[in-house]
Symmetry: C2
Subunit: 335 residues, 2 copies
DNA sequence: CTGTTAGCGCATTCAG
DNA sequence: CTGAATGCGCTAACAG
């Protein structure tokens, strides 16, 4: 921290007192400071490039205008970014700033991180996860205003902003159903991930409403798994007319499998992804269900900031809707 | 900021003065405070859960132990994350914390962000970019200790941490050359991106050393472009035996194209990617050149922190080497 | 209308 | 060995 200009400097330059400077610059001058002096203060501040020291303000006001973000994974994949961006921009709008600590996998360091954040007097805490996770906030975390982002408290005590995975699973399947498909295979993610079960529930509901039974195969999350299982499913006797995938990367794998087998998409088989992965879905023309990461980040900061004022958070899950993206990978079945 | 326990509270609890507390907790107690009192202080601090208020410390020490990170894009893609993670972890090691502001594309807000950061008395500034970019730091930025991450100052005045793109392009091509390929096509990125030219230079050098001429086709960065150009290149009369791609997504597109054309990889054609994209390359078994994002983040913080002490930054580019990843997508040519 | 004072929490003098 | 005093930069209350 180099030598900075203080309100004292401005006061001297303008020939007034420090409190006069403070009042003028904080809009508390009306009916208190003469117009000439107000002008003098403003000009002096401008000339000197005065910027109030927020550290000093924080100490005095007992509020740091700072939110601590902690995560063991946000900083790893493609989705943490937009979430952070949403949070950062929303925070900036309210003149807040994000203090970010990411351990990139070492969850054992979380306690240490929370400590560092609290020592810096953050006004609130966000725990953010890359993929939807159950996370039980430790007591030290719960004692501060806090919210979970893309995570939920299994005990339901803390509030978590998540997207509507059940509805998402439902909508993904409807993409196929609405086009007339009756023979559908779902390539699901791994059961260790919470979202897998929820999407599956939505999927089953959609199937039930249509009065048909589908097949679910545990696949995983990566493109090579999509290639493997996609190949197996598409070269079988009972080849389905539509495939819903765990995510867009898996769907890309299925596209690859179809290509190798000489099958056209969507003429011979329709494919639906999940995530609306910005690196995959638009380029491949994948119909998919999006996860509004950015919006979730905005929402979390919104709620957290709100809870700083009065309304305390209700607990449980705040559900953000999942948008359906219709692109070219779905068509009516040919048989 | 809820009611917090202060050093005053600890002093009262331990029955000593505030200065005694300060000395004990800062290791300045030897030969100054009696052992009994030292113990009393430590226990009282523990019991009360005392955590020194870093805002107050900052005000006093004139150093916030905080680094401002600003970016218009880091928060968007898959690579900003690891960079941030490296930076965050390295900073934490030195008891620093990252204040992150990402505009997610709105570069016009940078000035506003820098202001917010400076008002918070950050000790240093990092400008981070998702993909290597030229960025001329504004004066207000240059006045503080600063460094660019995955970016460089066209004027060379400021220091930027970048990876060795020329060498990367060289190595990518060598992957093919070393396997015996003599008929190579390069699918390059768009010329607006600095990395494109650098990789191309390395590519040409490798070709020249091998005494052969290759073909370069401007392709772009997305999987659909790889599919398009891959198809065109692979179905042509003069089909090459090896293809080097702008990145792993393009390579995935080429793989798709090969599959559709009934060509096997690597038997019929070898493919090399770039980036070592964690979502693509390992799963597809892509031989590729990695970009050490995490390491770059570490390096930037390292240098910045170092420059806070004494040694000022040299200016120009600090180049981090690019690792070669050999996987299964390259084999000797069949003809 | 303006200037002075006090105190946010801390670490460092300097007297005792 | 310890306690009181000082100042970091700011704003609100209060006295002039």
């Amino acid at each position: 921290m180099a030598r900075k200009v203080t309100s004292q400097d401005v006061a001297r330059e303008a020939g007034v007192s420090r409190s006069a400077v403070s009042m003028v610059l904080n809009g508390r001058a009306e009916g208190a400071i003469s117009a000439v002096n107000q002008k003098a203060v403003r000009e002096a501040a401008e000339r000197l490039g005065y910027r109030p020291n927020r550290i000093a303000q924080s100490l005095r006001d007992q509020t740091s205008h700072t939110i601590g973000v902690i995560s063991d994974s946000i900083v790893t994949g493609a989705f943490g970014g937009p979430m952070l961006a949403g949070a950062s921009v929303r925070a900036a709008e309210s003149d807040y700033v994000l203090l970010v600590m990411g351990s990139d996998g070492r969850t054992d360091r979380n306690a240490e991180f929370i400590d560092a954040l609290l020592a810096r007097q953050v006004d609130g805490l966000i725990y953010a996860a890359e993929g939807m996770t159950a996370w039980a906030p430790p007591r030290i975390f719960r004692r501060e205003p806090h919210i979970l982002l893309n995570a939920f408290d299994p005990s339901g005590g803390s509030t978590g902003v998540v997207c509507d995975e059940v509805e998402g699973g439902y909508r993904a399947t409807c993409l196929l159903l609405d086009a007339g498909h009756r023979d559908i295979v779902a390539l699901t993610g791994t059961p260790d991930v919470e979202a897998t079960g929820r999407r599956s529930a939505g999927h089953q509901r959609a199937l039930a409403e249509a009065g048909i039974r589908g097949r679910e195969l545990v696949c995983g999350w990566e493109i090579d798994r999509g290639l493997d299982l996609g190949t197996r499913v598409l070269e079988a006797e009972d080849r389905p007319t539509g495939v819903v995938c765990a995510n867009d990367r898996v769907a890309a794998g299925v596209l690859l499998a179809a290509a190798r087998l000489g099958l056209r998409v969507p003429e011979d088989v329709s494919v639906v992804g999940y995530d609306d992965d910005p690196n995959v879905a638009p380029q491949l023309g994948l119909s998919t269900v999006g996860i509004p990461h950015r919006e979730m980040g905005v929402r979390a900061v919104d709620l957290l900031l709100g809870s700083l004022g009065e309304a305390s958070l209700p607990g449980g899950e705040v559900v953000v809707p999942t948008p359906v993206m219709r692109r070219g990978s779905v068509a009516p079945p040919s048989r």
